[in-house]
């Protein structure tokens, strides 16, 4: 599909969201150009997908990140990766995505184009199409550049049954790589917190690695991507849902030195910082090495590590042996993560 390059010198105005021709042109010139695929080309508000038989998985995430462009990605690639990963965390093979855009009046077309191009690239690399989309424009001061909500549908292979009910004491807790890269990459671009050093977001699609993991060990108990709220939120949520405890070893949890430094500087705990290309896998202890090997064979899991295990109790608590050998509770993040001076 080769359309002539459109004029991208202007900016979005309300007419781009009015439902008329200006919007149709915007969709053709930007979204269809970058996201073209046979499903989207059906030209329907709702798109048919051949799921074959089997169980399907659906997911949705609204992406509201600021800044929109950051080292290692942008809101477009992030929106694709985030939703692919949520499908993968259900053990599902992603079939298709949908994407809904809420764009602020005055947003530069060139930036939108760049974002859509990045989404298209991420989709092609992942081998998963955007099947349908939607575009709304809001008045200046009623949005923040662009928000993208992506939803996803996938098929769950036979025999895969992933969820917190499957947690048992003694299971191993694996982490696919160093934590905190995404959250620190974003913070490093926020006004007043800028770093000169580039810390890249880990934003990445994990479904291929997960497919291999599920193929190697169909009985994986839990997969979860520690995004907003970081590793601490993910593990606390799981411990709470399962009514079990967890015991971590701080020294086993990989954190890049620059990320650790940034956390020291801002008074943050890396355990609370968001990731966008990492997963937590909980499995029987005897499967841990197999799964670590599978993960390490993928670039996304190169630094995978076993970071702890599930315990009978204290129920709902995540505990950790600290660097110096003491004990602490690993709590949820309280409220928003704020840099601090004390």
């Amino acid at each position: 599909m080769t359309l002539p390059a459109p004029d991208l010198s202007g900016s979005i105005d309300m007419s781009h969201g009015g439902g008329g021709r200006a919007m149709a042109r915007l969709i053709r010139d930007i979204f269809l150009r970058h996201l073209a695929n046979p499903l989207l080309d059906q030209g329907h508000d709702a798109t048919r997908i051949d799921a074959g038989s089997g169980r399907i998985a659906v997911t949705t995430d609204a992406h509201v990140i600021s800044p929109l462009f950051f080292p290692g990605g942008d809101i477009g690639s992030l929106a694709v990766h985030g939703t692919l990963n949520d499908l993968a965390m259900a053990g599902a093979r992603p079939l298709a995505l949908t994407a809904a855009f809420i764009i602020e009046e005055g947003f530069p077309l060139a930036d939108l184009d760049r974002i859509a191009a990045s989404m298209g690239r991420a989709c092609r690399e992942a081998g998963v199409p955007v099947a349908t989309g939607d575009t709304k424009v809001v008045e200046r001061g009623k949005g923040d550049g662009v928000f993208i909500t992506t939803s996803g549908v996938g098929v769950v292979p036979e025999g895969v049954d992933i969820g917190p009910r499957r947690l048992r004491a003694g299971q191993a807790i694996l982490l696919s790589g160093p934590i905190g890269d995404h959250g620190i990459a974003i913070l490093s671009k926020r006004q007043g917190l800028e770093f000169g050093t580039e810390i890249r977001s880990d934003s990445a699609a994990l479904h291929r690695m997960v497919a291999d993991m599920v193929a190697a060990v169909p009985g994986i108990a839990v997969l979860r991507d520690p995004t907003r709220g970081g590793l601490s939120a993910t593990l606390n949520e799981l411990a709470g849902a399962a009514g079990l405890g967890m015991q971590l070893d701080e020294r086993a949890i990989p954190v890049r030195p620059e990320v650790a430094s940034a956390c020291e500087l801002l008074g943050l705990d890396p355990l609370n910082v968001a990731n966008e290309g990492k997963l937590v896998c909980i499995c029987e202890g005897e499967d841990a090495e197999t799964l670590l090997a599978v993960m390490r064979a993928h670039v996304e899991g190169r630094d995978a590590a076993r970071i702890g295990h599930v315990t009978v109790g204290p129920a709902g608590f995540v505990c950790m042996t600290t660097a110096i050998g003491g004990q602490r509770v690993v709590d949820w993040l309280s409220g928003e993560q704020l840099p601090r001076i004390c």
Binding site: G192, G325, R328
Partner: protein, 380 residues
């Protein structure tokens, strides 16, 4: 990270733990007050408790500038943003602290006030430069460590003629607070006797040096060790305190020699003295009115003093009822002694500043050690 990672080493921690275990006399208790929330934080985050014998006890002091700021001052800050319409710049630490009626700066912001988190007074000056049509007020909080950056900002604003910048000054001083704990009998007559020594504030001493704490040894016969904030620093300092106690010495020792000297940073001290002067007295949450314990902006710099530029109304400010922060800040109660702890009061619904500041004792017990704390509360 140089000067950080080395001081979190597990093997050295074991060595220090062994030395402490040997040094500590099982026949007695050691009650050491860590004045600073920074120490509280390090003790809990690294589980230093687990590496010292049970008879070595940490008593948490009032060294958290967020915790000791009374509701009234926070209510004043909210009034500046809401009624006077200023851009109020604050360090992230203050945003969630509840004022009267549990209203925080974050809630005021959600309700429309223009409240901005800054990392440095440098950023607050940038905001003032970028908004010449608006009044920009920096909410100055902190001990002697954080005061020089506020002084530098005022000096810079004067040099550049940034006319829309001012500071709402809540800077406080550590020595008068420690003296107050030991001296004022109505606070708690038994307290002074109970304390066997102090872990002295290290970053405060980077500025003021160790000399200002010598009165503690000289006048109150309390051993002091100026202690770094890394967990090994704390452990080594504990060892040094135990040895002073065991040997009957009463000295100001300096564990944190890599930064602290006896005299501190004279240049910073001079700048602070140029811009600020002592307040006759200042209200501390927990300690009440403490003479000569806080700074105000000198009359020469009145143009940069938010308290002079904006008329602040009289208020019926109130701390949250049955919050035990005051007693906890004096070191006479522990979080488990507050019946709200972990029930009505959690970091998401803090009833007092000790629960919201990361340096507060209640937050530390909740975040890192609430299992034990809740168990103790259930047992009592």
């Amino acid at each position: 990270m140089k000067y950080v990672d080395e001081f979190r080493d597990r093997d050295l921690a074991r060595t220090l733990a062994a030395a402490i275990a040997v040094a500590a006399d099982p026949a007695r208790d050691y009650n050491f007050m860590e004045f600073c929330g920074g120490h509280t934080h390090a003790i809990f985050r690294y589980g230093v408790h687990d590496l010292v014998p049970a008879n070595v006890r940490f008593v948490h002091g009032p060294g958290c500038p967020v915790c000791i700021l009374p509701a009234r001052r926070l209510d004043d800050a909210i009034e500046l943003a809401e009624r006077h319409g200023v851009i109020l710049c604050s360090y992230g630490d203050m945003l969630r602290v509840p004022g009267t009626g549990r209203r925080s700066l974050l809630k005021a912001k959600a309700d429309g006030a223009d409240i901005r988190m800054v990392y440095s007074t440098l950023d607050a000056l940038d905001i003032a430069r970028a908004n010449p049509g608006r009044e920009v007020v920096f909410l100055g909080i902190g001990f002697e460590t954080t005061t020089p950056p506020s002084a530098a900002a005022i000096a810079q604003a004067q040099a550049e003629g940034i006319a829309n910048f001012s500071v709402f000054c809540n800077h406080v001083l550590t020595p008068p607070a420690i003296r107050h704990i030991l001296e004022v009998p109505e606070i708690d007559p038994a307290q002074a006797a109970r304390l066997d020594g102090f872990l002295g504030p290290s970053h405060v001493s980077a500025v003021i040096g160790s000399r200002p704490y010598e009165f503690l040894a000289a006048r109150y016969a309390k051993p002091v060790v100026i202690a770094g904030f890394e967990p090994l620093d704390v452990m080594q300092s504990v060892l040094m305190l135990i040895r002073q106690v065991n040997e009957g010495r009463v000295e100001v020792e300096n564990q944190y020699t890599r930064v602290v000297t006896r005299d501190g940073n004279r240049k910073a001290q001079d700048l602070v003295a140029r811009i600020f002067e002592l307040r006759p007295s200042f209200e501390w949450r927990g300690l009440g009115s403490v003479p000569d314990s806080a700074l105000a902006i000198r009359a020469d710099y009145a143009a940069f003093d938010a308290e002079k530029r904006f008329a602040l109304s009289e208020k019926q400010s109130r701390e949250t009822k049955s919050c035990e922060c005051p007693a906890i800040l004096r070191g006479v109660k522990k979080p488990k002694d507050c019946k709200l702890f972990g029930k009505a009061c959690t970091p998401e619904t803090p009833m007092g500043a000790c629960m919201v500041s990361s340096e507060g004792a209640c937050a530390a017990y909740w975040t890192y050690r609430r299992l034990e704390t809740l168990a103790e509360m259930a047992a009592e």
